[in-house]
Amino acid sequence: MKEDAAELYQQREKRVQDAIALRVPDRVPVLVLFAFFPARYCGMTIQELMYDPEKLFQTQWKTMVDFEPDMDNNPFGLRYLGPILETLDFKPLKWPGHGLASDHTYQYVEGEYMKVEEYDHFLLDPTDFMIRRFWPRIMGGLSGFQLLPPLHNIISYYLGISMGFRAFAQPEVKAALETLVKAGEKSLEIATYSSRFTQQAREAGFPMQYGAVTQAPFDTLSDFFRGMKGTMLDLYRRPQKVIQACEKLLPFMLEMAVNGTRASGNPRVFIPIHWGLDSFMSPEQFKKFFWPTLRELMVALIHEGLNPCPLWEGNCTARLEIIKDIPAGKACYAFEATDMVKAKEILGGTVCIRGNVPLSIMATGTPDKVRAYCKTLIDTVAKGGGYIMDTSTGLDDAKPENVKALFDFTREYGVY
């Protein structure tokens, strides 16, 4: 690493960690999730970035060095998805070239991928449920696994082994195993590109924002298993099952984050929050179903020496008093549409606050509007440290001049 790049790396890392620890950094850190912005910025389609890892690398790199964020986001795990999803015939996503036009972002198709009557199977053995019921349902390439017996019954020579493996001789299961091998190769390719990007960015002086990603257990249950409608009705019809399922998912969500940070050596854990906002649940429902396992997850991460970094989507102003209840100086809460001044008032002594220049301004407004919004944030929320400048969420669509205004203005006006 060149010496000045090494120094820049340390400065940037310290700037962000100071903010998270509620200290006053040299200036307000500024970072965004570039998401698919690099495609438009570099004149490529989103489809190209989802299928061509070199193009993804180059466009992300150019965006990073042009705007010089204090930290970047490794794009590979979230963007280079075309080949692996095709290999698996992954069904709950539409993406450019696969149900959507080449310049559109991929979009998740909600569904009841776990049925009501499958709660008990899930609660008994989530992994068994996932391999034999859930994977075949969401990935056509793994449909053969429906034929497998419960693998937890294959224990020893006469207890399972002697006849237990016969399903693996069936052509459908063989095909699914072959698909897995191919998917393994694609995963390895994504991981290789991902480490290469992080390494080269490090050598150029740019740390990565996050070392791992995980989710609130409730979000995982709702997003991927039960679907929105299913989950919301479950709150009425089988509230205990919802709580039990969240508790079952909690250690998995923790493990995912801890393993990710160990592999990357980066303590910051990204936690996108999907169903936590004010209008999606009453405060009572939030306190009963959503918050307990999320809080437990974040506290456990903090005990591991890590920094939970939830992105609270939507407006969470009415949640602020509730979500304040975690150890101070360890977490960073990014907000989308929450009242930032209120957030500072209530959470200021507890967590670092990040956000929230609206994407509507970034996409349709002027640099002057961006600067005015940033100025208000710096004058109010950034006071006394513990604040990171960012847009309200990922930047798929934004005018480059607005992005430039956000970075330049913060670097200039955000000096403490």
């Binding site: 009425y236 209008s279 649940m281 994407l359 509507s360 970034m362 669509d397």
Partner: protein
């Protein structure tokens, strides 16, 4: 109207509500009265949503209960018994965007409030919105977009309605995700709303039929 039914349903007591409806049906209550009570209960649910007593799960549950009531009562009715609708509303998630959760709740709440709703679904091509608007002649057009990439598609849809000479016939309301006043001005809509009740209120204001 049956007060007990209204209360049970407004309090989202699923099983008790169904049981009460069966009792009323057995007592040969006019099916229209049962539906009127259900609608009155939905009005209360809507009010509670506006005053932050109820939230989305409660609306979804109310919808489930209403669907169950309709399932029991509708077979007992003859066609045309329900009477005239309050007005026509066309709903679509614009081209390039496949998000439907918010849109579906808006459609549902508008139907419950007595409007005739034509929901064109998700990822609706601009030309389809124009053609269906010409055919259906709505008084209100509601466009939904969750993605920022769909702002332009929303803008182009409204421009196409303008170019087709249809724009003066109806009001346009928009909503979803990042949509705010900034976007309302950008796409030139008449109003933007944060939730389904806001959509109902726009229709009441623009078409009439408020209770």
């Amino acid at each position: 109207m049956d007060q007990k039914l209204i209360e049970l349903m407004a309090d989202l007591k699923e099983e008790e509500t169904s049981a009460r409806v069966r009792e009323l049906v057995e007592a040969k209550t006019d099916p229209l009265e049962i539906l009127a009570a259900a609608r009155a209960a939905m009005e209360i649910v809507g009010k509670r949503f506006e005053t932050f007593e109820y939230f989305i799960p409660d609306l979804v549950m109310a919808g489930e209960i209403l669907t169950a009531i309709s399932g029991i009562v509708k077979p007992l009715m003859t066609k045309g018994m329900e009477g005239p609708k309050k007005g026509r509303v066309l709903i679509a998630t614009v081209a390039g965007d496949i998000h439907d959760i918010g849109k579906d709740i808006v459609t549902f709440m508008l139907e419950v409030s007595g409007y005739e709703v034509l929901d064109l679904g998700i990822d609706v091509p601009i030309q389809t919105v124009v053609e269906k608007t010409r055919e259906f002649q709505p008084q209100v057009v509601g466009l939904s977009a969750f993605l920022t990439l769909a702002f332009d598609s929303m803008k182009q849809t409204i421009e196409a309605l303008e170019a087709a000479g249809l724009r003066k016939n109806f009001k346009i309301m928009i909503g979803g995700g990042q949509v705010d006043e900034e976007i309302r001005q950008y796409v030139k809509a008449d109003g933007y709303g944060r939730d389904a009740i806001a959509a109902v209120n726009f229709c009441k204001e623009w078409i009439g039929g408020g209770s």
